[in-house]
Structure formats: C-alpha cells, structure tokens
Amino acid sequence: MQLTQRSKNVVKKEMTFLERIYLPAIAKGMWTTLKHFFRKSNTVSYPKEQREFAPVYRGWHVLKRDEQGRENCTACGLCAVACPAEAITMEAAERERGEEHLYREEKYAAVYEINMLRCIFCGLCEEACPKEAIFLTDRIVPSDYARQYFVFGKDMLVEGVEPDKRVDVTVRQKHITEKNTQPA
C-alpha cells in the first residue's frame, strides 16, 4: 500500500565518471553552503530578545482581578469540574463585610490550587469559567527542584493589584471569544 507520493525507487547503478571524481558534486555542495553563509541567521538570542507568543500559547495560569482590583473568581468550581487532569482544587468562602474591595462577588476562593505537574495546559478551565477569572498566559512555568513547589496557590496565580503587576490577557481573551463564536 502506498501511503505517500514521496517515496523514491532506489536503483543501484554504477556511478558515472563525473560522479566518481566527486569534484562537481563537491562544488555544488559548497555553493549550497556558501549561499547559507550569507543568509540571515534565524537565531533569537533568547534571554536578551524574546519572541512574541502566539495567541494559542497556553502557559502559566493567572487569576484575574477586575478594574477595581477585586478578584473575579467566585469559586463556582466549574474549572475544577472541567479540568480533565483534575489539577484544580479550591475552597470557597463567604465574603465578609469590609472585604468588598477584595472580592467582586459574595463568594470567593479562599484556597485555589493548581498542581502544575498534573495540569496538561488544555485551556478547558478558561473556557468553562463564567466570570472571565482564569486565563492561561504566555508566561512559562518556572522550573524547580521538588514536587511540592509545583502546587501553585493563590500567591502564584492571582495577579497583583498594582497596574504594573497586572497580567495582560487581551490577546488570549480575544482568541477565546473568536473560538467560541465560530460556527462548529
């Protein structure tokens, strides 16, 4: 059965004189490499310059806050249910009086943990989230030495209140909206 059109029939034949003296083939090869010599390098000097991530890239999760710095998450648990790797655990708590500036709605996640070793970065949690609270970002999950350090709690997931500590997810957000509105 033929799978592709690319297979070539190999014929064992004697080399011609020109092939046997190698020189024309060598000259051809050297011309090819010379063309590469003057070609622009593809290298990105990684830590110094970084390439932009594609909107489909799914990395380190972020728990978003709204414009007033209140956490979006209401601990509904839909992300944990959607998660095929069962990486997400959370404990819900009720918002007390005086905590209105911290949490957007009456219920919030007191504990929110993602096990980064279980997570398969499928992005189903952000699709499941009704409050636009969780997003997968273009940040790379840092490496570490022991397993326990890979259970990321709220300290590693919730973005900061200050403007410079916010995590920009507009590109990702747009991508998800487009994906969701596309006819199946």
Partner: protein
C-alpha cells in the same frame, strides 16, 4: 674573536625574537581559528555562533582556555601513564616546529635593522615540512595507544594508516612542484612564483595537495582519527583538560601551517600581482601571505561544514587507487611539459 661573538649574539637575538614572534602568531592564529571555526560553522548553518563573551564573542577563545586549564586533569587508571602525558606534548611540539622554514616575507626594516622574515632557509625546506607532517602522527598514535581504550586505538590506527596513504600522494604532488622550481627551499619556490603562481601550471597537483593536506590535518571529510559519531572522539576520547586542549590546539596549528604551505607552494607565498612584498618596510609580505593562508583556513572550514565524512574503506580507495596514480600522472605530465616547453 669578539667580533664573531658579537655577530653571533646579534644573530641569536634576532632569531630568538623572530621565533618568539612566530610562536605567538601561530598560537594566536590557532586560538582564533577555534573561534573562527565556530563562527563560520554557525554562519553556514544559519546560526550566530558564540556571541556572549565580549563583542561578537571575541573573547571566546580566552574563556575556552580558562575552561581547559581549570578542568580536572584526568589520567585513566589502566593507561600508560608517561606516554599518555607525553603524547599531547609531542603532538603540539611537532606542530609548532614546522613554521620555522616558512618564508613569511622578504626583509622587514624595523628600528634601522633588517630582519630576515624566515627563521631558517634550509635548502630542504619542503622536505622538512613533509617530515614533520609525518612525525605528527606519533602524537596521535601515542595518545591513542596510551589511553588503553578500544576507540582511541581505533582512531589512532585509522589516523596512522591514513597518514601513510596520503603522504605518498602529497609527496608525489610536491615532487612536481620541485621539478618546476628545481629547488627544495621554500624561499626559492616562493620567489620563482613572482611572475606566475604555480597553481596555473599545476591545477591537478593543487587539488591533490589540498585533498592530502585535509587528510594530513585530520580535517573533515577525512577526520578518521576523531570520528565523533563513531569513535566518540577517537584518539583523544580519554583526554581532558589542557591535554585535550593541546590536541585540539595542535590540530588548528597544523591547519594553519598547512594553509600557509599551500599558499607558498601554489599561490606565490608573499607575492601578489600589483603588490610589492617590500612595501610598508617589508610588512606587506607577511600581510599577503597571512591573508592567503586565512583564506585557505576558511576554505578548510567551508569544506568541513559541507562534506560528510568518508567511510574508512572509501578513504583508502581514494588514497591508493585515485590520488596516487593521479599524482604519478601529474608528475609525468609536468616532466613532459618541462621537457617540451622548457619552464
């Protein structure tokens, strides 16, 4: 008596200064060949190469040197200890010796003195170079043998049989040059090319010599002694630290010397049409010769990053069945040419 002593003292100082300068030059070129090799390899593969140590990575050889010196100097338990230590020294010693007979230029006028830019003009200069080239294999052989390692020994054996088969063709192609110039002195050979380079008369001889030089330097596509993929480094598998550094360094020195010899034998040495080697107080000669030899170093690297390694039997076939007969034919053609057309 004192006049003779004074004369010889001046002579000794002159030669010593020249030798030290040459030594520094050779080592410098070898060090920067490693940088050049990595840069050129990178460019051929659409990469950047070393770029972090200094501007454009120019301090990379220095960093490499520091690394080589500070690594653990390991001697395998079952090795022939003294031979194991001797081998890299022997290799680099032989490699450094060859530059003595190369005519780097005419005379350099510096500080009111005339410096003859050739350490010694022995009348068998080219024979001396060939002799040292064949001595070079002893370092590889000793290293491979003393390591007490199968792969090292394989590398060493391959290197020595390769040397034997390629030295023949190399010698035969040199004979054609010697027939043209009627002298074994490199200075005479170079000076006779003031009008026309030897490569015009000896195109076949040049290709043969270039091929053999690649094989003699253990450069790809004839790097049988190293064979990184099959023999994991070949004769220097067991070596580490500066002993390994010596081996690698000596290979680059060999390459530099080979390229210089090629320029001297076939490309007119310090002669270049339209440029007088006596310009700039005699500095033009070395500049011309060095540019030629740098060009050939580039060609050597270019070849390395283009061609895959020959299989061992293909190498032997090429050496004995193609290069040696061709070299003999070349020699006979040269003889016939001299007989019928004069020089």
């Amino acid at each position: 008596m004192s006049l003779i002593l004074l004369f010889s003292l001046g002579f000794i100082i002159e030669k010593a200064v020249l030798i030290i300068a040459l030594f520094a030059l050779t080592l410098g070129v070898a060090a920067y060949s490693t940088y050049g090799e990595r840069k050129i390899a990178a460019f051929f593969q659409d990469r950047l190469g070393p770029s972090n140590a200094g501007p454009w990575g120019l301090l990379q050889p220095l960093a490499d040197g520091v690394k080589m010196f500070t690594k653990e100097d390991f001697v395998p338990n079952q090795s022939e200890r003294w031979l194991y230590i001797l081998a890299p020294g022997a290799f680099i010693f032989v490699a450094l010796m060859a530059s003595a007979v190369i005519p780097w230029g005419t005379t350099l006028t510096l500080g009111g003195l005339n410096w003859n830019l050739q350490v010694t003009d022995v009348n068998i200069g080219i024979l001396y170079v060939v002799g040292l080239a064949s001595l070079g294999v002893y370092g590889i052989m000793l290293g491979g043998w003393a390591s007490n390692n199968k792969f090292s020994l394989y590398g060493a054996i391959r290197a020595s049989s390769q040397m034997i088969s390629y030295e023949l063709a190399m010698g035969l192609s040199i004979i054609a040059i010697v027939m043209l110039s009627g002298s074994l002195s490199l200075k005479t050979i170079v000076d006779q090319q003031a009008g026309m380079w030897n490569v015009v008369y000896q195109p076949l001889g040049f290709i043969l010599f270039l091929t053999c030089a690649l094989a003699e330097c253990n450069r790809a596509p004839f790097d049988m002694a190293e064979c990184e993929t099959e023999l994991i480094g070949g004769y220097h598998t067991e070596y580490s630290a500066m002993k390994l550094g010596f081996f690698l360094f000596a290979e680059y020195i060999n390459m530099f010397i080979s390229c210089t010899v090629i320029s001297c034998l076939y490309f007119g040495g310090y002669h270049f049409p339209g440029l007088d080697p006596n310009w700039l107080g005699g500095l033009m000669g070395p500049i011309i010769l060095l540019s030629k030899s740098f060009f050939f170093i580039f060609v050597f690297m270019w070849i390395r990053w283009t061609l895959p390694r020959f299989r061992y039997d293909q190498l032997m076939h090429l050496g004995w069945k193609s290069l040696i007969p061709l070299a003999i034919v070349n020699m006979m053609l040269t003889g016939a040419g001299i007989l019928f057309f004069g020089k």
